[in-house]
């Protein structure tokens, strides 16, 4: 029993570097959310969502006035479907006697960074270690989110017009390292940019979608991301060994 509690503490400690990295990020996203018009309690739910790119999707749609919840959920689902893959490989890394509630608690607060760190451990991992490992980053994120939503009011007006670029700065910092590591990822980024401008340049697409009573921004974004990924997997499928190379550094 005592040994198992130590497992949680060991995990918690191992997760602290991730927690420190998350804190300013969630703070920046929360500031953007409050500036976009969310109130304090909305911003807290926003933090519990616990996904930088998902929150980016929300803010992007929200600023464009998208009102259909399904559009947000669908894009979130597509963007984070990789967790299914994480979970599949994770379930093979866990000790086979891990209780279901521990699997669930870990799963709910799992992230890319936690996954990568967990996979670097040798041998099977206990549920308590994994819960600890996932818990400290989650705390860091929530702390940053709450702080961010509280301090937004203190930001001087003169800086506000440029804060919109903050979130895009985060996204750029997430994409560039993997594009730098893998030519194929770089290729997919270029394809997405081209597609995005093509869709933007054809006004009839936007007009048709608007005439259905739907905000075109969300649809074009999904179309763009999904078709770019499909085109790339078709032209340049990723080999098994490249897969682990790309995943490790993310």
């Amino acid at each position: 029993m005592i040994e198992k509690n130590n497992d949680f503490r060991r995990g918690f400690k191992d997760g602290i570097p991730i927690a420190l990295a998350y804190l300013p990020i969630s703070m920046a996203i929360a500031v953007d959310a409050v500036l976009a018009g969310l109130n304090f309690s909305m911003a807290q739910i926003f933090g519990i969502m616990y996904t930088g790119s998902g929150q980016g999707i929300f803010l992007n749609y929200f600023k464009k006035g998208e009102t259909i919840a399904l559009m947000y959920v669908f894009m979130l689902f597509i963007a984070n479907f990789r967790y299914v893959i994480f979970s599949i490989s994770m379930s093979q890394k866990m000790k086979s006697d891990t209780p279901t509630w521990q699997k669930l608690l870990f799963g709910v607060i799992n992230t890319d960074e936690v996954y990568v760190l967990a996979m670097q451990n040798q041998g099977a991992l206990s549920g308590k270690y994994l819960m600890g490992l996932a818990f400290s980053p989650f705390l860091g994120y929530i702390l940053g989110n709450t702080t961010g939503s509280l301090v937004t009011g203190l930001i001087p007006d003169i800086v506000k017009p440029v804060l919109g670029i903050m979130l895009y700065g985060l996204f750029i910092a997430m994409v560039i390292p993997s594009a730098k590591k893998s030519r194929k990822i770089l290729f997919s980024v270029v394809i997405t940019i081209i597609l995005s401008y093509i869709l933007e340049a054809i006004p009839i697409i936007g007009k048709t979608i608007s005439s259905w009573g739907i905000n075109p921004a969300g649809i074009t974004m999904i179309t763009c991301a999904v078709s770019a990924a499909a085109i790339c997997s078709w032209i340049a499928p990723i080999e098994e060994k490249e897969l682990s190379d790309i995943k490790e550094e993310e």
Partner: protein
């Protein structure tokens, strides 16, 4: 948009996220073997992020000029391995300085 609608969107997104993270851990035991699907899910995070960035980033500040300055700064810094927060903060500062300069020259109101 009324606040009830915002709550519905936020809560449904949070629930989706929880389900997406937790459910596969309970049910999936097998590996995905299909090469196309594997590639697809490797590509999707970067294509989604890119689709979020372009073209919206260029209208995220007062003028495309300052947005471009911020983007170039962000790309260069992240290429040289700087962390998320440094990159983001420097992009904001670069855009800010660009706008201050443009205002002092009378190009931007």
């Amino acid at each position: 948009m009324n606040s009830q609608n915002i709550y519905i969107i936020l809560i449904s997104m949070a629930i989706t996220m929880i389900a997406l993270r937790a459910i596969p851990l309970l049910f999936f035991k097998k590996k995905i073997e299909n090469k196309f699907l594997k590639s697809f899910f490797t590509y999707i995070p970067s294509t989604v992020l890119t689709a979020l960035i372009v073209p919206e980033v260029f209208s995220s500040t007062s003028t495309p000029v300052s947005a471009w300055a911020g983007v170039i700064m962000a790309v260069v810094l992240s290429y040289f391995g700087r962390g998320l927060f440094t990159v983001s903060a420097c992009a904001v500062i670069t855009s800010f300085i660009t706008e201050v300069i443009m205002r002092s020259m009378g190009i931007l109101n």
